[in-house]
Symmetry: C2
């Protein structure tokens, strides 16, 4: 397999869940997946299931939490050190797929620069499929990608005042 | 939980995988899920993983195969009998979530009527979250839904001549 870059971006629901679904499909075919979560700090239901396949899925969490302007410097440092650890990880083990959940958000908010992202992506094995999610993917990242789906919010129950529910949103 | 209706439609990649991701998140929270696949006949990698959780996920396949005009009558009959079986299933067991993968396609291609769909959906427990995927969701279905995401195809490697790959598309 030649690895391609996918981006799932936009305001609509379905970005992280699509990445989880791709992970499940990949391991269903015996692929090895590295699942990286940026930004999110809290435990989501999907992680407890992905953890049940340690021989096929490695999970790496780089949670900075909600991005406040006054905390951005610390959050940038956090992501920088995560990237350094990830470089070691991807050098040590051959993954068929790597998911970078919410990476587009981290880039969009300036927590990781274009240069650092490009440098990091260039180190990944050419046969590894790369899945990037998050709203606000910048144009230069879209230009680099082989597949881009924009999850367009046509209608969302949040607009009706229904808040995030356990088992559905996390 | 009050059950809501989600639709993941559009031409872009990520509809079925989002439904699989929602299923994984749901069972990660102990929810019981019925995962129904319409249209698709072949085995996908994700099904082998979903099958590993028989205490939480029931899988029901209603594969008609690719929809040719000359086979539509048989395919309509097939879906009609699937719906009858499903009515018995949902009456016998309380699901927290039901995924109808590719149902929008079946509706869009006239394999199941608006009346039959509405009648069937009205029989589902009001606390069950309903997830419908497939391109071409009709407006009346969108009107009924609480959440609609259109997976917009911004860029797809199929356009570059790369065909469906095991582990990524199935």
């Amino acid at each position: 397999m030649t690895g391609l870059i996918h981006i799932y971006t936009g305001e609509g629901k379905g970005k992280t869940t699509a990445a989880v679904g791709l992970t499940i499909r990949a391991i269903g075919n015996g692929f090895k997946v590295l699942f990286v979560q940026f930004i999110k700090e809290n435990f989501s239901g999907e992680i407890s299931i992905l953890s049940k396949f340690p021989e096929l899925i490695d999970i790496y969490k780089c949670g900075t939490g909600f991005v406040y302007e006054e905390k951005k410097i610390n959050q940038r440092e956090k992501i920088k050190s995560c990237i350094e650890e990830l470089k070691i990880k991807i050098k040590a083990k051959k993954y068929d797929m790597i998911v970078f959940d919410e990476l587009a958000v981290a880039i969009n908010l300036g927590l990781i620069s274009k240069d650092d992202t490009e440098n990091f992506l260039s180190l990944i094995n050419k046969n590894t499929e790369i899945i990037i999610t998050g709203r606000g993917a910048p144009q230069w990242l879209i230009d680099k990608a082989d597949l881009v789906t924009e999850m367009k919010n046509v209608k969302h129950y949040f607009e009706k005042g229904i808040s995030a529910r356990k088992g559905i949103e996390y």
